[in-house]
C-alpha cells in the first residue's frame, strides 16, 4: 500500500502541471473556467490521497510513543517558580 500511496502523490504532482488545460477557456456549467475547476479537483484528490495515507501508512510506532498517558508519565514535571 505504501507504494500505491506514494505513486498517487507523484501522479498528483504530475497532474498538477496540466499543460493540456493551458489555453482552454471552456466554462464548466457556464460559470467556472475549466483550469480552475481542474485544480479544485486536484485539491480534493490531495485530500483523498492523504486520507488514504492516514489509513494505511500512518506511523504506528509513533502512535504508541506519543500516547499521552505514557509520555506524561515519563516526562519530568516542570518545576514552577516565582
Amino acid at each position: 500500500m505504501k507504494y500505491v500511496i506514494w505513486t498517487m502523490v507523484l501522479i498528483l504532482l504530475i497532474a498538477h502541471q496540466d499543460s493540456w488545460n493551458w489555453h482552454d477557456d471552456t466554462l464548466v456549467w457556464g460559470i467556472v473556467p475549466i483550469g480552475l475547476i481542474y485544480h479544485a479537483c486536484i485539491s480534493l484528490a490531495a485530500g483523498f490521497t492523504w486520507w488514504l495515507a492516514t489509513l494505511f501508512i500512518w506511523p504506528k510506532e509513533l502512535e504508541a510513543n506519543s500516547d499521552p498517558a505514557l509520555v506524561n508519565a515519563a516526562e519530568v514535571p516542570v518545576q514552577e517558580s516565582n
Binding site: 467556472v32 473556467p33 485544480h39 486536484i42 492523504w50 492516514t54 514552577e80 517558580s81
Partner: protein, 529 residues
C-alpha cells in the same frame, strides 16, 4: 451612521472579543514555560487543524489571492493553492509527524534544539537563529502592513465629518491611517499572546479561522449575486463569467516552467519555526490526521471564491471608471472595493474582521515563536536552565517579542511597496532550507559540516539572487535559461537556491566524518542502518 464608522465599530467589537478570549485562556495558564509555549501538549485534532490552517493562511489568502487573480487570472490558484494543498500536507506527514515524535521524546520546543542535538553541533544553532529571525521579519511585515491598509480602506469616511485623517486619495479619506491601524493590531495580538500563550494562540487561531472561512463564503455569495444584474444567483454567475476575457480564464500569459518551479515554494512550511512549535502542541500523533487530510480542502474552500471574484472584477462595468483606474494601479483594493460597493456596511465590517482574522492568526504564532526561540536557543542554552526561572524566561520571551514587533512596525512605516514580492523571497528562503530538515530526519549520513555548508549555501545564493532582483523591486524576477528549441524557459529563484543547498549539504556530508553511533541510535531505528 456613516458606513465607515459602522465598519470601524464592528472591527472594534471583534478585537475586544479576541482580547477576552486571550484573557479566558490565561485563566488556564499554569505558570510553567511548557504550558506557555506548548499548551502542555494538549491540543486535539480539531484545534490543531484550525490553528495550523489559520497560521499558514495570511492576508494573502483573501486580499492577495483576489488581487493576483485580477492581474494574472486563474493560474494563480494552481501556482499557489493546489500546489500548497499537496505539498503542505506532504510536509505535515513526512516532517511534522516525525518531528513531533522526537519533540515529545526528547523535550524540544524549537527547531534549533532539534538540530543541535541531531547534528551534535552548537554552531548550527548560532548560524540558524539569526537566519530564521531575519526570514520571519518580512513575513511579519506582510501581516502588519496589510492590516493597516485593510483598516484604512474599510473605515474610509468614518472621520470625514470631523475633518480628521484627510488623504489625497479619496478612497482612504477619513479612514484610520495605517500607522494607527497596524499599531492597534500589533497591540491586540501581543496582548492575547502574552495573556494566553500557546493555548490562547491556538484558541484565537481556531476562532479566527472559522470567522474568515464563514464570512468569506457569505461575502462571496452576496457579491456574486450583485454582479450579473439578473434575478437568480445562477443566472448572475453565468452572465458575469461569460464576460471574463480568455486571458483570465486560461493561463495563456503564464510561463509553464515558472508555474512548475513554483511547486518548491510551499516546501517552506517544513522550515517555518512557528509551525514547528504548533506541531509540538499536539496531544498525540493522531491529532495530525485531520490536518493532513483537511488542509488541501480548506485551502480550496477559501481560495476558489477569491479567485472567481478576482477574475470577475476584470469585467468592464463592475467598477465605476474612476475607481477602476485606481484599482488597476493598486489591485490589492479589489476585494475591499467590491465589499464596499456590493454589500451593506455591516457585512463589510464583518468581512474586514474576517480579513484581519486571517492576518492575526499568522502574526500570533510568529510572535510566540520568536519569543520561544530567544529563550530556548539563546537564554536557556547559554545562561543555563537552572539560573533563569520558568517565569523569568516567559518574561524574557515577551520582551524579545516586543522588540522584534517594534522593529517590524518601524519597517512598516517606511512604506515598502513590494511587500508581496518580499513574501515570495521570504518563503523561498525557508523552502531552500527544506533539504536540511529532510536530511536530518531521513539521512543518517548528514553531518554538522554538511548542514552548515547547506545553510551557508542557501544564505549566500539567496542574497546573491535577492540583490539581482534589486532587493525585491523587480516583482516578477525569475531566472531565464536559454534552451535550444524552447521559446521561453524561466525558473523561480528558489530552484537555484534549493539546488545550491542540496549540493553543498550532500558533498560536504560525504567528505566529513559521520555522526556518532550514539546520535544515530537516538534518531534512527536499527533497521534503517
Amino acid at each position: 451612521m456613516e458606513a465607515g464608522m459602522i465598519r470601524l465599530l464592528i472591527i472594534a467589537v471583534y478585537l475586544m472579543l479576541l482580547l477576552m478570549l486571550g484573557f479566558f485562556a490565561s485563566r488556564l495558564f499554569t505558570g510553567s514555560k511548557n504550558d506557555y509555549l506548548l499548551a502542555s501538549h494538549s491540543i486535539g485534532p480539531f484545534l490543531l487543524l484550525m490553528s495550523i490552517f489559520g497560521t499558514t493562511m495570511t492576508a494573502f489568502a483573501l486580499v492577495g489571492s483576489t488581487s493576483e487573480a485580477f492581474k494574472e487570472g486563474i493560474g494563480v490558484y494552481g501556482m499557489l493553492a493546489s500546489s500548497s494543498g499537496i505539498i503542505h500536507s506532504l510536509c505535515f506527514f513526512v516532517i511534522g509527524v516525525k518531528v513531533y515524535g522526537f519533540g515529545r521524546k526528547y523535550g524540544y520546543t524549537t527547531q534549533i534544539q532539534f538540530f543541535r542535538d541531531r547534528l551534535e553541533s552548537d554552531f548550527v544553532g548560532v548560524l540558524l537563529f539569526p537566519i530564521l529571525v531575519a526570514l520571519i521579519i518580512p513575513y511579519l511585515l506582510i501581516g502588519v502592513m496589510a492590516s493597516g491598509t485593510v483598516i484604512q480602506t474599510m473605515t474610509a469616511g468614518a472621520f470625514a465629518n470631523e475633518g480628521m485623517f484627510a488623504s489625497e486619495n479619496l478612497a482612504f479619506a477619513g479612514g484610520v491611517p495605517p500607522k494607527i491601524g497596524s499599531a492597534v493590531i500589533c497591540g491586540v495580538v501581543l496582548i492575547y499572546v502574552f495573556f494566553g500563550g500557546m493555548r490562547g494562540t491556538a484558541w484565537a487561531n481556531a476562532f479566527q479561522t472559522i470567522v474568515f472561512m464563514v464570512l468569506g463564503l457569505v461575502t462571496f455569495v452576496l457579491i456574486a449575486n450583485k454582479l450579473g444584474g439578473g434575478e437568480s444567483l445562477l443566472e448572475n454567475l453565468k452572465t458575469i463569467s461569460a464576460k471574463v476575457g480568455s486571458d483570465h480564464t486560461t493561463r495563456e500569459s503564464m510561463s509553464q516552467s515558472k508555474f512548475f518551479t513554483y511547486l518548491l515554494i510551499p516546501l517552506s512550511v517544513a522550515m517555518f519555526p512557528h509551525l514547528f512549535q504548533h506541531w509540538l502542541t499536539a496531544k498525540s500523533v493522531n491529532s495530525f490526521k485531520l490536518s493532513v487530510v483537511c488542509h488541501p480542502i480548506f485551502i480550496m474552500i477559501v481560495w476558489v471564491p477569491c479567485i472567481l471574484l478576482g477574475i470577475w472584477a476584470t469585467v468592464p462595468g463592475v467598477f465605476p471608471p474612476a475607481l477602476a483606474e485606481k484599482i488597476s494601479l493598486n489591485p490589492n483594493m479589489v476585494l475591499p472595493a467590491m465589499v464596499k460597493m456590493k454589500t451593506t456596511p455591516i457585512i463589510g465590517g464583518l468581512l474586514t474582521a474576517g480579513i484581519l482574522a486571517a492576518i492575526m492568526s499568522s502574526l500570533d504564532s510568529q510572535f510566540l515563536c520568536i519569543g520561544s526561540m530567544f529563550t530556548n536557543d539563546i537564554v536557556e542554552h547559554y545562561v543555563g536552565k537552572e539560573r533563569v526561572s520558568d517565569r523569568a524566561q516567559v518574561w524574557l520571551a515577551r520582551t524579545f517579542v516586543v522588540l522584534i514587533v517594534a522593529v517590524v512596525y518601524y519597517l512598516s512605516l517606511l512604506g515598502y511597496k513590494s511587500v508581496f514580492a518580499m513574501g515570495v523571497w521570504c518563503f523561498s528562503g525557508f523552502a531552500s532550507l527544506f533539504p536540511i530538515i529532510f536530511a536530518a530526519l531521513y539521512w543518517r549520513r548528514l553531518t554538522a559540516a554538511g548542514a552548515v555548508s547547506g545553510i551557508l549555501a542557501a544564505a549566500g545564493s539567496w542574497f546573491y539572487l535577492f540583490q539581482k532582483s534589486e532587493y525585491g523591486s523587480i516583482r516578477t524576477y525569475s531566472i531565464d535559461i536559454d534552451l535550444p528549441g524552447v521559446n521561453e524557459f524561466s525558473i523561480m529563484p528558489v530552484v537555484a537556491i534549493f539546488l545550491c543547498t542540496l549540493i553543498a549539504m550532500i558533498v560536504t556530508s560525504l567528505i566529513t566524518r559521520p555522526p556518532s553511533d550514539a546520535t544515530l541510535a537516538k534518531f534512527f531505528a536499527a533497521e534503517d542502518a
